[in-house]
Symmetry: C2
Subunit: 328 residues, 2 copies
């Protein structure tokens, strides 16, 4: 990994660097972009962060002093691209794919990474791309100042679900300890990330909780956001992030679901605590997909009430199948 990173730095060969992240960036993407750009600059390189979508408001604290640009800002740019936190060449979106038909560097932690660049620094055992970058900077004794440390911290804390996901390892905590020593600030990160909810989001949560329906002996919990609730609470689809976890986090619930009633159909999210339920396969029954514990789907032209019945039926059948396997 260190050799790969050294090779990448040599290959830049004085050219300007576009540090590219994926569309709809999350904390690990923004943190990786900012940290890499800042460290490259300390080594005399010119670097800019490029992303199809803007930095989300709550991640602003991880991008202090950093100007992000879209592909439109690259008209005059003649340099190389390093992709961070992107499992494949398409993740930054079609316009960046077109702008960078070849990619010099690929730094990522996704197990599905397709090694699409000339120099690939990929480790799927890392909890976050920011963990990989932190380890590389520390190993190579590259300067990590407080803003870089905080950017890396932002990526680690968000991609590990506050150090709770199975990807969290001893190394995650060791690197975080070193980032603390260099100025990372968990108090401010926690405040910016988790304690600045819009009032409307709380109202959305209230509506969601009030809609809970329990099925299959309280092993299934489904909540529904009725059409119009976004307008009433001044929120948008983006504000549903994390809501479905309230359905899943009830003691005894094995599958939690969120149904959004849209003008032209429904949108739904499914979550389970145990991959045995394969909610991706359940979502696939309705044309959706995802992971074993987290999946989503869209069904145009179906009413929420009709969809809820079909979904509950499918979920109950899955529980029965799993029960049968467990008993045998």
């Amino acid at each position: 990994m260190v050799a790969g990173f050294r090779g990448l730095l040599e290959a830049i060969a004085g050219r300007p660097v576009a540090v590219v992240g994926h569309a709809r960036p999350d904390g690990d993407c923004i943190g990786s972009q900012v940290a890499l750009a800042r460290v490259l600059r300390t080594q005399g390189f010119t670097a800019r962060c490029v992303n199809a979508d803007p930095v989300p408001r709550r991640l602003g604290f991880a991008a202090v002093e950093e100007d992000f640009t879209t592909v439109d800002g690259l008209a005059e740019f003649e340099g190389v691209a390093i992709y961070v936190d992107c499992a494949d060449h398409d993740r930054p979106g079609p316009r960046l794919r077109e702008r960078f038909p070849t990619v010099l560097g690929n730094i990522d932690h996704h197990v599905s990474n397709s090694l699409y660049a000339r120099h690939n620094c990929v480790s799927s055992s890392a909890a976050a791309t920011c963990e990989i970058l932190g380890a590389l900077f520390l190993d190579e004794d590259l300067p990590i100042d407080a803003l870089t440390a905080q950017a890396l911290y932002a990526g680690i804390v968000t991609d590990t679900g506050q150090f709770r996901f199975a990807s969290t390892t001893r190394v995650t905590f060791q690197i975080t300890a070193e980032l603390m020593a260099r100025g990372a600030n968990p108090v401010d990160a926690g405040f910016q990330l988790y304690e600045r909810e819009p009032l409307g989001k709380m109202q959305l949560l209230q509506r969601f909780l009030a809609s809970f329906e329990m099925h299959a002996d309280n092993r299934i919990c489904i909540g529904t956001l009725a059409d119009g609730v976004f307008a009433e609470t001044g929120t948008s689809h983006e504000d549903t992030e994390g809501l479905v976890d309230y359905a899943r986090a009830i003691d005894g619930v094995e599958i939690g679901g969120l149904i959004e009633e849209l003008p032209g159909g429904i949108k739904a999210s499914l979550r389970s605590n145990d991959p045995v339920f394969r909610v991706d396969q359940l979502a696939a029954q309705f044309g959706g997909g995802g992971h074993a514990c987290a999946a989503g789907l869209n069904v145009p032209g179906m009413a929420a009430s009709e969809f809820r019945c079909k979904l509950v039926q499918a979920l109950e059948q899955r529980l029965a199948e799993v029960d049968a396997v467990r008993k045998s």
Copy 2:
């Protein structure tokens, strides 16, 4: 600190040890008791955990294989007491105070610790008593097995609010890394602590969110749990834990409050993001107290509606005072 701990171990001199925690135990208390008792046993001591109140259900994972007893189980006990996570001699409750008029050891991280024991291992710079114990065990090369590591992890993760409170330091993460290497399991801890909410608690949260009243240009958010809501949702006062944080975590809110309507009066909690608001002083106006950012109070014989008016008035005045100081 290490010298103090060695002195404490020597002073036990082969006598049985009661590892005493505080009444209404939290994660740091239970984790400290379990970890210390287990490590003492590896050194040939007899140790038992004593607490006035039972281990809360959600902390059971940190007390696997450990039998807790109350003072009633100590009829035949002739030994010494080590108090953990107790700021003063009274914290374990009156019956344990009476049972142990002298205390051999005191291991704690509260800044207000009154050094009431013969051997005091107190560090207010530690994020948790479990952090102190983890450091001592590691320094002294005492055996930390997976159950001990998980007990210590439970104390650290709860007392730091998932590594978010200002008490979290580089050392916190370093010790946590070592606990991971010895079998601490953040995934299971996270599930047990944060993803097994009773359904009634979600209903309580829903009622609380639905009751939000905003004041002072949305800088104050107060929610009220009406008398009867506990019976309706099958919950008790204990289930209000953490609810008030939803009021405080709204963007722009500087003070959040929870009022519980009781048959004989009201109970309230106040939280702020900034110690400048001194919510302990605000609570004191109603006979309560606490910390600068977290305080509570009881007012017998007052109706919730009357109290809410008086509280909002007091909070608005405090905001005006702080604004005046900030401007000057």
